[in-house]
Amino acid sequence: MTEVLDLHEQDSDGGSEEVVLTPAELIERLEQAWMNEKFAPELLESKPEIVECVMEQLEHMEGNLRRAKSGDLKVSIHRMEMERIRYILSSYLRCRLMKIEKFFPHILEKEKMRPAGEPSVLSPEEFVFVKEYMDHTETHLKNVALKHMPPNLQKVDLLRAVPKPDLDSYVFLRVKERQENILVEPEADEQRDYVIDLEEGSQHLIRYKTIAPLVASGAVQLI
């Protein structure tokens, strides 16, 4: 019953290519997306295709289990696995929502400035959520405080009021593909920039900003 899934991926030209994944690889990708999302200080690109495929698999398995009346052991093994996958999926989505709520004005601004071909950081449902959250926060602030203030102070700029994600924070990472010439900026002014090479399989501690594009492309894994 090992099925092979079709995953449609968009590349930057707007064309689409089909990537065929086994369910095991799909779960592997979900776990990687989960770990990356947990440790990255900003919201990463949304992966709706992985989420949809995993949901499909879970529903399929749930349907099978309902119909199956065989021995206790097989059913309980399947259920345990389903619970594990469900936990990873919900933790991943919860992590994203938490970041959205924390940085909502910056995310909306980024979304407005995004060029047409680039993939979105938000899924359609998340986008609706952010807009509503923004509206509700503004309404709440207005009703609670702003409307009682003198007329020239009644505006609040949420972009400046809400802190930006800290891209300078340090993250641990494991290298999956060898990278060369990564520029490391120094802490103190007397030091100069230097370049390092990242070997495959090694682990590092480095500023998020330096390796953000590598996380997006999948060449490193945050741990």
Partner: protein, 188 residues
């Protein structure tokens, strides 16, 4: 990532079991499992053999590295070297803890192994603290940390208070290229 999640990840490691039941091949989403024949050793991911053991359906075999002499060798090596030596398995702490809790009757000299693992952990944490100090005082911007497990990094992340910004603490440090072999962490 907290300790429970690190344990969750450790449950993907393969461990050998001897089932006392028979079962055909099972097709899980994450891969196939089985078939299980009575009393024939089989490798499977760690999560549910624990469950099986609690239901008295199998015997868990300790992995090859969980042996008193081997552990003593690893412990000696760790003490001699300044940097971190390779660990027997990336999830050695979690596996040991789970195996000793649930299956200590299947493991010979369980107490000795428990003490050895604890010593190994303490040695490594001490090294971590020393390197962290160096790290901070020398104002580095990058560190290479092979041979550190998830659990170590998780300890580091826990010490770090999320409200504290690196900008507030100007003396935060990272390894220079010359010290790439050292493992480091934040101590804030």
């Amino acid at each position: 990532m907290d300790a429970a999640e690190v344990e969750f990840l450790a449950k993907k490691e393969l461990v050998t079991i001897i089932p006392n039941f028979s079962l055909d091949k099972i097709y899980l989403i994450g891969g196939d499992l089985g078939p299980f024949n009575l009393a024939y050793p089989w490798k499977c991911p760690f999560g549910w053999p624990i469950n099986l053991k609690q239901r008295q359906k199998c015997c868990l075999l300790p992995p090859e590295w969980m042996d008193v002499e081997k552990m003593e060798q690893i412990q000696d090596q760790e003490r001699k070297e300044e940097t971190f030596t390779p660990v027997p398995s990336p999830h050695y702490m979690e596996i040991t803890k789970l195996l000793l809790n649930h299956a200590s009757d299947n493991i010979s000299k369980a107490d000795t192994i428990r003490t050895l693992i604890k010593d190994l952990w303490d040695t490594r944490m001490a090294k971590l603290r020393v390197s962290a100090d160096n790290f901070v005082w020398q104002q580095e911007a990058h560190a290479k940390l092979d041979n550190l497990t998830n659990r170590h990094m998780d300890q580091c992340n826990q010490i770090k208070n999320p409200e504290i910004n690196p900008q507030t603490y100007e003396h935060l440090i990272f390894d220079k290229e010359a010290k790439l072999a050292q493992a480091t962490t934040f101590l804030i």
